[in-house]
Symmetry: C2
Subunit: 105 residues, 2 copies
Amino acid sequence: MSGDAPLGAFEEQVMLAVIHASADAFGMNVRRELETRTGRDVAIGAVYSTLDRLEAKRLIASSRTRGGSASRRLFRVTASGMRALAATRAMRDALWVGVNLSLSS
Amino acid sequence: MSGDAPLGAFEEQVMLAVIHASADAFGMNVRRELETRTGRDVAIGAVYSTLDRLEAKRLIASSRTRGGSASRRLFRVTASGMRALAATRAMRDALWVGVNLSLSS
DNA sequence: CCAGCAATGTCTACATTGTAGAATAGCCTT
DNA sequence: AAGGCTATTCTACAATGTAGACATTGCTGG
């Protein structure tokens, strides 16, 4: 039993951004990934608090790195997180089946 | 301005359920649609409060019907709601591109 | 007719997510 | 050592998500 509570919309986005950023998945980069892919502005605070909450739920995990400049937290999606993503997508897909958006009012 | 704020996960689900229920899209039926398609339990209060909030944002609209049993509210997704759905999906698709959920651990 | 059941919808309250921006902290440059 | 980066943490509050009690209407059996 790993993930009963469904992912929120932003939580899902953040997790996907972490996956895309892969080896460079620290906060600032996750935000960048989010902004370039969605075209929206994302407040840095929104990213970190969501990251924190996802970590508390063990859907992602983080580790410190002291490479170049400042100390950073590197995030990765856990197996449990992957499952949650899959479940979220499956559930949504079930609802999108057969929906055609070109309907007029 | 019709839709700057992104849809929440549950909001999106409810709108899709309204579309599926089409001619019978009143509260109880929307809930049923949601439950059968997603396999989750959905509290009736959750459905109605979300429906109300979506209506306040003009993403759906409702009308009363006095058909058989009790008076019911029939919902439909507005054009603006359709646009919001499309935008939500587009944004998410952009993040899902190239993501492969194959798990190892 | 009236009590009560069934179906639908409303209301209230609270938990979780979403969002914003200021405050901190280490490093690098000058 | 002061100033400026980059990155993260903290604080606060708004919006969404969730639950369940309660009200309303009409129908039905007695």
